[in-house]
Symmetry: C2
Subunit: 236 residues, 2 copies
Amino acid sequence: MTGSEHKAASQGDVRDAIRISGLCHELDDVAVERLLKIAVPQDYRAREQIFGQGSAANAIYLPCSGSQMVERSVASGQRQVLAFLQRGHYLGFSTSSHYVNSAYTLEASCILRFASQDFFSLAEDYPALRDNIGRISNQVLERVLDHLFAIGQKRAHERVAFLLCQLYAREKTPTEDLLLKLPMRRSDIGDYLGLTLETTSRAFSRLRKDALIDVKGRDHVQILDKEALEALAEVK
Amino acid sequence: MTGSEHKAASQGDVRDAIRISGLCHELDDVAVERLLKIAVPQDYRAREQIFGQGSAANAIYLPCSGSQMVERSVASGQRQVLAFLQRGHYLGFSTSSHYVNSAYTLEASCILRFASQDFFSLAEDYPALRDNIGRISNQVLERVLDHLFAIGQKRAHERVAFLLCQLYAREKTPTEDLLLKLPMRRSDIGDYLGLTLETTSRAFSRLRKDALIDVKGRDHVQILDKEALEALAEVK
DNA sequence: CGTCCTGTTGAGCAGGTTCAACATACGTGG
DNA sequence: CCACGTATGTTGAACCTGCTCAACAGGACG
């Protein structure tokens, strides 16, 4: 059972998340209302599983608040973090009948749950919805290709620079002071970038020493030299 | 007709490629004919560019024969090979107006070219075609996530095992003797797996020494122990 | 105030890279 | 058809980045 000690999802939060997600692009009001009607909001605590690798893929998720990650593990114990997500990002699209990845919250989150059946039967009625799903998964593909480049070709501190730029670029309201929140642990970042947590930590230290960033406590980073950071992170 | 495997694309080759690609799933004959009508076959020599990073994304490509690769390079000189392709695989889908990747042939190839405009206006008329495009790009995403896992978490010889399993798994007619053709160079494999060409070569040697494969000349590999190879390659 | 958890830093090690030599395959022209 | 020259692939040796193991520091929370 999930904790309900946090504020319930307001209608505004929900609509905001859907709008940000791009799922409603070109969709009429009736369709949006039908979409809202099949959405079930659910509250999660920090570090709780949303769905697990191998379980039946019977829902799609849309975070309204908080932050989440998608990962994949193998029997030999290795783990690859595939994505860090937040409000307006989709989780749980699966080609097969079972999830091949797991998803967890990083912070306490409110997440909309759409039963696959409801969702896809709605998509049957609205071609625009199918197009939007296609557009979203193309964006996902693009991000993953950038990620692939970074892991395949970049050095440790460049990979960390890549993550910081990726996180900054997706902020809807880029903060003027370039302050970034990092809700994940060093080990999560390491598994995202194909590094150990120690190497990740050293990479942060190096960027700090070179005055590209300032590490503010455990989970905040201030970008001091955005251009230099982007030059390190270059993936296209 | 039957013996012209050298140059001109036969109608059979073309239909075969389209069938393998999965683009015609649930598509009626009229639609398929219209698709064939806008396809322009073109012959390429080995190691020729099909399209280049930064150029206008005005076409989609479908190889009928030969083999190809998609790569991305950055100013600093690093290159990531993103995919090795062959008959029935799609090339050149782009979200933006310009390609962010380049594509080259590995061997001499015949490739169908669809002008984006023609292609997408045809897709306007056939929802099934749009669905098929969506399904194909989901398959691409799945492959890229496997690739990401391999590069992020696997050691050198495990990555090579991963590539060999990936290439073997996609053979339409799995050869009984487990003989695999590798039309790419060691440096291409290295850039695909995030390794240098020397490390790649050493990884092949290691797999040979451990009797998992047999390297037959420059561009053929015989798989001797498929189970062991798959155990090394495990990505889910 | 102590405990646990996360992050940082250090030291030694190892896998992968770099640089270099050699081997083999392939295409070309004699 | 063979000989040669160039491409690609393999192997060796030294080096270096990142990993492993370990100690310590700083918050968060009871």
